[in-house]
Amino acid sequence: MTDIIQQFRDIRATLRKNEVWRDVDFSAMMPEGMKLPSGDKAEEKDYPCNIPDLDVTKLTVINGRCVNPYYEEPDGVAYGSLSEARQRRPETVAKYLGKSDKSDNAYERLNATNHEDGIFIFLPAGIKKEYKFQIVNIIDSNEPIFVQTRNLVVVGSGSMLTLLQCDDSIGESRSMSNNVTEIIADSESSVQHYKLQNMNDMSGLLNHSYTQLEEGAQFSTSVITLNGGHIRNHAEVNMRGEHCHVEANGLYLIDKEQQADNYIFVNHLKPHCESHALYKGIMDDSAHASFNGHVLVSDGAVKTEAFQTNRNILLTDKATVQSKPFLEIYNDDVKCSHGSTTGQIDELAMFYIRSRGISERTARTMLLYAFCDEVIQKIALAPLRNRLSDMVKQRLHGELTPCSECALHCNNTCGCNDAPAFEIDPDKL
């Protein structure tokens, strides 16, 4: 059997004619000598990825291994290592793992058969308390490593879950991750899924999210890419019941040679469902981004409302973006729209702001922040929204170049001395 890393490399050649996957190329993030993680039981170091006032249960995954034990609450809520859950609740895991609706692809299959570990979260039906979890996914290695983690999230009928998924890397770690998260949300449940990606420039991340919604389920997701070598978010949302509501937002701020790709497939299978997608990005230096959004409205899915928007700002002549919003509709009784814009900073707005005595640098930051703010405001969880708002401002200091340490690790406060004068959050006045 070819080794797993080689199998991952070889997938690319087999997908040359696949519309969704043909441009996916992580070879630049995979140096020779890349290895699988050692397999030793990971020790929990102190990775203080804390967000002030955010009351969450933190689950840490280091190099693909979950350091938290499996735990069951008296109300039946269970969480912790997926490997342990396999031992403790083999039937539940077998019932759901790998079973969510998804398009067949070799990257997901490789993960399915070879993942290290990951997080298992199970909320039975009818849980009144809203559970909040944070998955901290850390890469910490002196050698280049290839990691595959798999998360399984099951939310029972009428229950509510908030899940914050942070991808981070420590120091100079080089890595390629092929991670899969499956979310199975039963009828009338509510799931908020936030993805925060803040990795170093040597990190490659292929992040799959497969979400399956039953009747009346509410799903909102935001993916915020602040830093990373090459990050690809592959998201699929399937609405299998009527009256589902989906909100999918994305923000990517990249510079240097970084690459950020977002693919989202929203599948309207049943009537009376609604989906909104808003993705925005700012590209500096020679960064490259892509947006590929696909909304599919089935024959029977009448009274569908589906909206999709992608907006981009290119700060240099070398930065590039490919934007492909796409609607595929098989019935007449729908309300759908899509749109895409790509441009530069509005010079007239710059003149207007500067004519009030605001420096060029602050004016630019203001305009770029304002552009991002639309996505940030969609985050319902206030402590996370405030923290992200600060992190985005830090990221935008001096265009996009993060000051030496701050943007790479979400736990550090920025020590920049030359912070622009624009520091006011109207909410805090």
Binding site: D346, E347, L348, A349, F351, Y352, I353, R354, S355, R356, G357, I358, S359, E360, T362, A363, M366, L367, Y369, A370, F371, C372, D373, E374, A421, F422, I424, D425, P426, L429
Partner: protein, 254 residues
């Protein structure tokens, strides 16, 4: 010495020459009105004084407070006390007026060697200045000009002027798009801000605004030059006779 002194100013946009030798002196305590038909250079002149990069100055100088400002960055001119009330105020989604003005006021204070205003000091100042244009609280918490009516946009310009307390204010067609009530409020705001220590330039098509903001001097800008200057009565005469009268006078003089 005049507060603003413009000498033989020539300017173009692209290859098109718009200003062909403007001369103008403005002293503290004065209100000047610049009138003239569309497309003859009124907004260009306002834009050049404020520093709009769209225009290229080819000849002449603009001296403000003893300094040639043509090489001065836009924000520095503002911090030196120049304010432009825009004909078409720009919408900036995502930036609230409160945030925008606090940043502007504090940058101005920094430039002048003053400590920044605290949150409560700033809010107090804002409450006070909102009254100048009868602005409602809601407006201040909205994004700058986003979805504002014509009247709200112009009120917002004068509100910003009140916050920044400029030495030289240039109001570019502040009356356009206003109904009679909004016109009264805006003009009233401008009058409240007049003092012996500042000067105002009012650019307008119509005499109507000048019933409220009474100028000391009226200039007619035609084909890139100031062709006539007179007292406030000149505005009434223009209203009566139209710009054709000026054109005929000029032709007769040739």
């Amino acid at each position: 010495m005049a507060l603003l002194s413009i000498r033989n100013l020539h300017a173009k946009i692209g290859d098109r020459e718009i200003l062909k030798g403007i001369n103008l002196d403005i002293n503290k305590g004065e209100v000047h009105s610049i009138m003239g038909p569309n497309g003859n250079g009124k907004s260009t002149l306002a834009g050049i004084i404020a520093g709009n990069p769209k225009y290229t100055v080819t000849e002449g100088e603009v001296i403000y407070n003893g300094k040639n400002i043509l090489d001065m960055p836009v924000d520095q001119r503002a911090n030196e006390g120049i304010f432009l009330g825009f004909q078409y105020p720009v919408e900036i989604p995502g930036v609230t007026i409160t945030n925008f003005m606090r940043t502007a006021v504090n940058e101005q204070r920094k430039y002048r060697g003053l400590d920044p205003l605290s949150g409560s000091e700033f809010l107090k100042l804002m409450e006070e200045k909102k009254k100048v244009v009868e602005m409602t609280t809601n407006l201040a918490n909205r994004s700058v000009n986003e979805g504002f009516s014509g009247g709200e946009k112009k009120k917002n310009e004068i509100f910003q002027m009140a916050m920044l307390n400029p030495t030289l204010a240039i109001l570019d067609e502040t009356d356009s798009g206003l109904d009679i009530d909004a016109l009264r409020i805006v003009a009233n705001g401008v009058n409240q801000l007049r003092s012996p220590e500042n000067a105002t330039v009012v650019i307008t098509h119509y005499q109507r605004l000048l019933d409220y903001i009474v100028p000391d001097f009226v200039h007619v800008l035609y084909e890139g030059r100031i062709v006539k200057t007179g007292p406030k009565e000149l505005a009434l005469e223009l209203e009566e006779k139209g710009y054709e009268w000026i054109k005929k006078e000029l032709e007769a003089a040739k």
